[in-house]
């Protein structure tokens, strides 16, 4: 991936398995980096890890080989030490979830059933990307899987709870967005003033808690 990064892609496995392997590979690379400052901090994705390095200190071909070698090593259970659990209160539907009714119609369930199904799963934070603090949560129950909206919205409010493909997520900040908005939460996924601005970490668990009447 250019002259200063290696992109290691993984295959074989479902959405959750691939993301976990990517996280594990990133953690192995963190070990490499501890003793060798020619490496930058690896960025895990859905099924890959981007590994930055200094091309003036490390030959790019050697870098690619080193990453491949580490990728071939058996994955020891190196799950992160402190997985946190986040209970996220959500106001589903109505103005808070403008796409809830359309999603229900598209999947052949009542809106109430969509809410119950969405809230029934403890999701894993698979990786962060797209926006500061945006966690891709998985895996969404199969009945709720839909492609992204044909036309993205120019502006999705911060705190929007959304679904698309096999993921669900909460938008930390207002931005354009193509996911289906089914609810709204006041939990701040990103706050620059906090000592740790980003709330979620890969491996954390998220449960959505429906608030009040739909």
């Amino acid at each position: 991936m250019g002259d200063s990064a290696v992109l290691a892609t993984l295959d074989g496995g479902d959405v959750v398995a691939l993301a976990r392997r990517a996280q594990a590979l990133a953690r192995s690379l963190d070990g490499l980096r501890r003793d060798d400052d020619r490496w930058g901090l690896a960025v895990p994705g859905a099924a890959s890890v981007l590994v930055p390095f200094d091309p003036l200190a490390l030959d790019p071909a050697d870098a690619a080989r080193a990453v491949a070698r580490i990728g071939r090593q058996p994955v020891v259970d190196s799950s992160p030490g402190d997985r946190r659990v986040h209970d996220v209160p959500v106001r589903y539907g109505g103005e808070s979830g403008p796409d809830l009714d359309a999603v229900a119609a598209a999947v052949g369930l009542t809106p109430a059933d969509v809410v119950d199904l969405h809230a029934s799963v403890a999701y894993e934070v698979l990786f962060l990307g797209f926006q500061p603090g945006f966690g891709y949560l998985g895996e969404l129950p199969a009945q709720l899987v839909l492609p992204r909206r044909e036309t993205p919205r120019p502006r999705v409010p911060a705190g929007s709870v959304a679904i698309a493909d096999r993921f669900t997520a909460i938008y930390p900040l207002p931005s354009p967005g193509g996911w289906h908005l089914i609810g709204q939460t006041e939990v701040a996924l990103f706050d620059a003033a906090r000592e740790e601005p980003v709330l979620l970490r890969a491996g954390d668990s998220v449960r959505f808690v429906p608030l009040g009447d739909r």
């Binding site: 991936m1 002259d3 930058g40 960025v43 994705g45 859905a46 990307g129």
Partner: protein
């Protein structure tokens, strides 16, 4: 914010198109979904900073296109780096990138517009700003960093901890050589179709910059078909060239989203980030494939030029020992 006393040094008279405080960014924040950010033209930032005795990565003002106007509030030396944005003093005298100038209270500076896109203005000690995740760089999309997480506007005042008037500031030694302003050297990307097609279409002719901001350049030209629509989200870098569904390439810059799912057909070489940073909307650009060895050699040459320039300025400048030791 506790810390050293800061002195207001510049007042913004007109924010122009987009002026923000930027330093060298957040290279290790991508795992949080936070872009690396920082100056789009890292050489421009470095030169402006070295000219006023700073380390290369101190917070400076990044100015995008013309229109930004400032007034000095105190006696001060300023370093100018990056591209030619038609910077003039109140007297009408032009200030070229690579110059250090001294101003007194009330002096005016205006970026009137020029052939390039981004310029950097540095002050001794660097500008003071909101520090988030180890950097003062502004991420406007998320509203944090720099001056209140936003672009500068008329009435804003910029502060520095140690404003100084430097005796006999010296210009950056010019290296000469032809300008390759509108040619970007690239390497094949991980998703370029091996049997030809997308890379050849990218390098076969000129593209027009349809729009530019700190996140990306969006190019216009004959749409390229990759045959793939989307891939699992993966980490991307400054200089990544993506192909969205409409076939018109997107070139990522400093505030790029940390992950993307569009096919990556090419990646600009690191040494040409400054070239990307200087492209304006409406400019034409061509892409030329080079080898990995060429890419590394170009980066090495750039770093050596920066180091040589830095040595020349620091050795020749007759600055106070007090000032030097204040840099820490």
């Amino acid at each position: 914010m506790s810390g050293p006393v800061a002195i207001e040094v510049l007042e913004v008279v007109d924010g122009g198109v987009e002026a923000t405080i930027q330093d060298a960014g957040r290279p290790n924040a991508a795992r949080l979904g936070v872009p690396p950010g920082g100056a789009c033209d890292p050489m421009g930032l470095a030169i402006a900073n070295v000219l006023v005795g700073n380390a290369c990565d101190r917070p400076a003002l990044e100015v995008f296109l013309g229109g930004t106007a400032l007034r000095a509030l105190v006696e001060l030396t300023l370093g100018v780096g990056g591209g030619d944005l038609g910077l003039v003093r109140g007297t009408g005298e032009r200030v070229e990138p690579g110059e250090a100038i001294s101003v007194t209270a009330g002096d005016a500076l205006r970026f009137t517009g020029g052939p390039d896109a981004r310029a950097y203005l540095a002050v001794p000690g660097g500008f003071v700003g909101e520090r988030v995740l180890g950097s003062v760089s502004t991420l406007v999309a998320a509203g944090f960093g720099g001056h209140g997480g936003r672009v500068l506007a008329g009435g804003d005042r910029l502060a520095a901890p140690v404003p100084a008037l430097l005796p006999e500031p010296l210009p950056w030694p010019t290296t000469g050589g032809p300008s390759r302003r509108h040619e970007v050297r690239i390497l094949r990307g991980p998703h370029a179709r091996p049997a030809g097609g997308s890379l050849e279409a990218l390098t076969g002719g000129a593209w027009r910059v349809a729009s530019a901001d700190r996140m990306a350049l969006r190019l216009d030209g004959p749409p390229i078909d990759t045959g793939t629509v989307e891939l699992p989200s993966h980490g991307v870098t400054f200089g990544t060239i993506q192909l969205p569904a409409d076939g018109r390439p997107i070139v990522l810059l400093a505030d790029h989203q940390t992950t993307g799912g569009y096919p990556v057909i090419a990646v600009a070489i690191s040494a040409d980030r400054s070239v990307l940073a200087q492209l304006r909307p409406g400019d034409d650009v061509t892409f030329r494939p080079v080898s990995l060895a060429d890419a590394v050699a170009a980066l090495r040459a750039l770093r050596e030029a920066l180091a040589a320039g830095e040595r020349a300025v620091r050795e020749a400048a007759a600055w106070d020992d007090l000032w030097r030791s204040a840099q820490g």
